[in-house]
Assembly symmetry: C2
Homo-oligomer: 228 residues x 2
Amino acid sequence: MTSKLSTQHKILDAAQSLFAETGFNDTSLRQITSLAEVNLASVNYHFGSKKELIQAVLQRYLVVLMPRLDQEFTRLLASQQANNLSQVLSVFVKPLLELNKVHQNGTRIFLQLLGRGYTDVQGHLRWFFNHNYGRVLDKLVLLVQQACPDLPPGELFWRLHFSLGTVVFTMASNEALAEIAEADFNEKVDIEGVILRLLPYLSAAIAAPVSTVTPISHTAPLLAGEGR
Amino acid sequence: MTSKLSTQHKILDAAQSLFAETGFNDTSLRQITSLAEVNLASVNYHFGSKKELIQAVLQRYLVVLMPRLDQEFTRLLASQQANNLSQVLSVFVKPLLELNKVHQNGTRIFLQLLGRGYTDVQGHLRWFFNHNYGRVLDKLVLLVQQACPDLPPGELFWRLHFSLGTVVFTMASNEALAEIAEADFNEKVDIEGVILRLLPYLSAAIAAPVSTVTPISHTAPLLAGEGR
DNA sequence: TTCTGATTCAAACGTACATTTCAAACACCT
DNA sequence: AGGTGTTTGAAATGTACGTTTGAATCAGAA
């Protein structure tokens, strides 16, 4: 079963686990190479630097996930009928779960890494992500906008980021939560279970009625475009 | 105006800003003491260690917030009529905003710190938090349970943690989000604005109908257990 | 085999970190 | 003023980090 893996592969496998568990900055190359059973210098030999290793770890999943999401988004945009929010969010499920083909527990690991990327590093990974895949997410914004025509663009912006936070934080602390859930409620919940629990939560949240109690002067937003 | 501050106070003020901005592990005592314009050794003299400094920074807010929340929860629990979810969540607003009395931008800083505490450190801060203030949060769980009697306890557990993720992640990246929001939508949003936007989002999310959808993965084989 | 480029290895480099040390400076008492 | 306990200061300690180095080892072609 355990075929002979290249050094690069062993590094990536060890790195993703440690990165997901401990975060990027709090995982040392020595931990990684020790777990991977390779020489310390091989990381810099094969990847150049720790920063590039982090990107390589993420890219392994992103190059699979993002084209897949793009394809789903494009399909939904092409269908003339308006899609409801639940349908839009549901298209995430299959592409995300297919990351388990990239690596065992790939879905969980990727989402944890995504969470780490948003909270650990200062801007750098956020830029990398938006720069490479921003156009795909623009389609998602468009779809949600169509599904929730009554939602002002500014409100939608915030709610999408709220939702990103929900997902990312949940995955970052997924292990601890799953443990508690099993201990307290006798419910064994895997990553698919969490995703399926997230869907109705996020659907209801994003489509929630807009609050009427606003202490701030309510100026009509003119500019659209999620750019940046 | 700028009265003479004690060394301890200067350290706490510098530390909370840097911790909120960069995270606990990625902020060095040298940065803190440099910003506070005190000697490096004074941190260990006054607080013992970096870990204890982190706790002291958090405690300054927790000792104000948690009794305040406890009081609100108790009040709501005492009222015989059942409270709806929106009412329950609303009790967070005032206690949170009163943290601005503890320090300028105290609400934002505290929530950012809370986010850092949940994602940065390994369990340690989570334990500290649950150990000291777990009983207060139990009352919140009870209130939400009363407001959403149809929600199974297991589902409620997950949704409360989803909500924690929403808040915590939003605050961790609050500065970046607020900047984008202002640039793209011409909306100046302060911490109060974010909190008020969160309320309807979270109310709808927690009270969302429970999904009837079952996992698409085949139920027969349990290969690739997600545990560990 | 011998040559050659790619990979691995042990060791070291320079930097930054939290923490400790101990003498100097300070504040507050009588 | 002198004495005492508290606080600050500059410097050093030991550890860990990412990265670099140069020799040893390997794989494949001639």
